[in-house]
């Protein structure tokens, strides 16, 4: 038989390409993660009808279509000067919960979890969902698939279409819920609450009861003391769909809280010549290079960023788990990168509980789901994508066409921190020119915790992400190349 050698069919070119530079003692001087970035989006949008933006932006990336859809829809509410009816907001938030449910389940069980459940030292061909099932059992595998599908189903019912929603309109939504749909959703959510509880228990049994894992979580290479950012409600509890952007300092104190319309007063972007991606930082503190600590403007977003930037969860069971995490890991904030996984599961429980509150709300079947729009001008929209704060900002012409569009996407917010985490992990494993065998694995664990969605493909059969690490000596000559899954 003829063998055809083909690169994985990729949506987008590129992969996590990492360059490590050593000093003349053979220790890590610098490390860079190169992230390919899609270009030309602003120009692509110019002159389009504003109401098409929720559909267009949800195509930017296959990872978080729902997050883009609603950041965009919310920016349109603002741009068309309309406040949606409360039932529409609840329907949007319920759908958003469905998205976080499937996204977080996917990450924990398929992508991040295998590192723990199968073990960080296991060979890459075991560190995947199949390895998890081998270890945890077929029944759990079926539960994983089922609940991920529930999340998808909830977004499909509310969004009008699987994966890429079409329901968001300026001033509301296009689709209401009938009683049968409510019944179906309620049944699925009930099961999701139980599954989230089970997942936290699994994390307890597999990770927290293993001293080696806890030591790894708390170890220096996986610790970063940065600022944290996330959306909070009026009680400073985590919120995915709405609220103010809150930033806490590396000691956990509130540093600043602002409306999304003030984002450009508070966030600036630093440019490095080696990367297309821009590195956001807190404007009032300034860019101080790839450093952590109070004097550096770098911040983290995503599950751990959100929990650190808040003071609790708005639902009872998740709040209990929130407190337990901080008690176990030594108080708020937790600066351990690998605790992102734990935070993700606490959020899974929160969105399941929150979805239950919403589906039981009598208003959820209301037919009043849209308000008439006003005159177009400028609009800002923010949501918490599962991997962090996502901002859309549009300027409209008086005819309702896009004049200017700017997006700050979740992974970009984490770009500085991811880079530092990669460097820290490398530092621990390269000593005097000697490269530890676990380098690829530990570096991969460092950036996977953030669940980055950079424009690259991962064809994960078998195991982890395709990755290439180039190590250069102090004269910048290539010293060694390590590859995985390429």
């Amino acid at each position: 038989m003829k063998t055809v050698v083909i690169d994985p069919i990729t949506r987008l070119e590129g992969h996590g390409k990492i360059s490590i530079f050593l000093n003349n003692q053979g220790n890590v001087e610098n490390a860079y993660l190169q992230i390919p970035e899609l270009r030309g989006f602003e120009r692509f949008c110019q002159g389009r009808r504003a109401e098409d933006m929720p559909q267009i932006t949800s195509r930017i990336c296959g990872v978080c279509p729902v997050a883009h859809h609603f950041a965009s829809t919310k920016a349109l509410d603002d741009a068309f000067n309309v406040d949606p009816p409360s039932a529409a907001k609840k329907l949007r938030e319920l759908m958003y919960c469905g998205y976080i449910i499937y996204d977080h389940i996917l990450h924990f069980y398929y992508l991040g979890g295998p590192d723990f459940v199968v073990g960080p030292d296991a060979p890459p061909d075991k560190r995947n969902i199949l390895g998890v099932i081998e270890k945890a059992g077929i029944e759990i595998g079926k539960d994983v698939i089922r609940h991920r599908a529930y999340g998808q189903r909830i977004t499909a019912i509310l969004g009008g279409k699987a994966t890429h929603p079409v329901c968001g309109l300026p001033g509301g939504v296009s689709k209401t819920l009938n009683r049968e749909e409510v019944k179906e959703i309620e049944k699925m959510i009930k099961s999701c609450v139980e599954f989230a509880k089970f997942s936290l228990k699994l994390f307890d049994d597999v990770v927290l009861k293993n001293k080696d894992y806890v030591d790894l979580i708390l170890s220096d290479p996986y610790t970063l003391k940065t600022y944290n950012m996330g959306l909070v409600d009026e009680n400073n509890k985590v919120n995915f769909y709405d609220g103010k952007i809150r930033v806490t300092d590396p000691e956990g104190k509130e540093y600043i809280k602002f409306d999304v319309k003030d984002y450009y007063k508070n966030i600036a972007e630093h440019v490095e010549e080696w990367s297309y991606i821009k590195f956001p930082y807190l404007k009032s503190i300034g860019w101080k290079g790839f450093k952590d600590g109070k004097d550096s403007g770098i911040y983290r977003v995503g599950p751990l960023g959100r929990l650190n930037a808040a003071e609790g969860m708005a639902t009872p069971l998740a709040d209990k788990e929130y407190k337990r995490m901080y008690e176990t890991l030594g108080g708020r904030p937790v600066n351990s990168t690998l605790a992102f996984h734990w935070a993700r599961l606490i959020e899974l429980l929160y969105v399941s509980e929150r979805a239950m509150e919403l589906i039981k709300d009598p208003e959820i079947t209301s037919q009043h789901v849209r308000n008439p729009v006003g005159e177009p001008d400028e609009g800002f929209g923010v949501v918490e994508a599962s991997r962090g704060t996502l901002i859309h900002h549009y300027k409209l012409t008086k005819d309702g066409l896009i004049e200017k569009a700017n997006l700050i996407v979740a992974t970009t917010n984490n770009a500085g921190a991811i880079n530092m985490s990669v460097k820290n992990a490398a530092k621990g494993l390269i000593k005097n020119g000697k490269i530890n065998d676990g380098l690829l694995n530990m570096v991969e664990m460092a950036f996977r915790a953030y669940d980055p969605c950079f424009a690259c493909a991962t064809h994960t059969l078998p195991g982890g992400m395709p990755m290439e690490i180039n190590i250069y000596d102090h004269e910048k000559k290539l010293y060694k190349t390590l590859k995985q899954n390429m």
Binding site: D7, L12, L38, L106, R148, A162, T163, A455, C456, H459
Partner: protein, 155 residues
């Protein structure tokens, strides 16, 4: 025999969206209640969800080869993909892995036959755009013909 034809790609990423173009063309050519034609902007698990329950699945997608090859249209089966096909992002598993997983969990609705009609393209754009390059656009009719042949083969 129930067959699903899925054009896969991102319609706002130039040549990457060629599968979508082919599916759109096919909708004009094929009118058979046993043949379902879909457009999908997704891969991995979601793509599997879409094809479950059919006897045969024909997936149309842009393919980029590591070696320099001339642009053409080729037929593949899943065995041709050594590392897996299509997870469009770092947050999903590939279709091959998704199928492997589904089999392991006792899924019985996986199509008997899965064929990929691959349109070999030069490069995958990192700049947004809705137009196909001239080269890629010229391959669309060939791809349409091959899918039609593939449907006929299925009886």
């Amino acid at each position: 025999m129930k067959t699903i034809v899925v054009g896969v790609g991102n319609p706002i990423l130039q040549d990457d969206g060629v599968g979508i173009y082919v599916a759109k063309q096919l909708k004009k050519h094929v009118q058979d209640p046993d043949i379902v034609i879909e457009e999908a902007f997704t891969g991995g698990m979601n793509l599997l969800d879409l094809i479950l329950g059919y006897d045969k699945a024909i997936i149309i997608d842009a393919v980029k080869s590591e070696k320099k090859q001339k642009n053409e249209v080729r037929r593949f089966t899943l065995n041709d993909f050594s590392t897996g096909i299509h997870s469009c992002n770092p947050h999903d598993i590939s279709l091959v892995e998704a199928i492997h997983l589904a089999k392991k969990l006792g899924e019985t609705r996986i199509p008997q036959e899965i064929v990929v009609i691959g349109i070999l393209i030069d490069r995958i754009s990192q700049v947004f755009g809705e137009k196909l390059s001239e080269k890629t656009a010229s391959l669309v009719p060939k791809a349409v013909d091959m899918v039609v042949d593939e449907i006929r083969k299925g009886g």
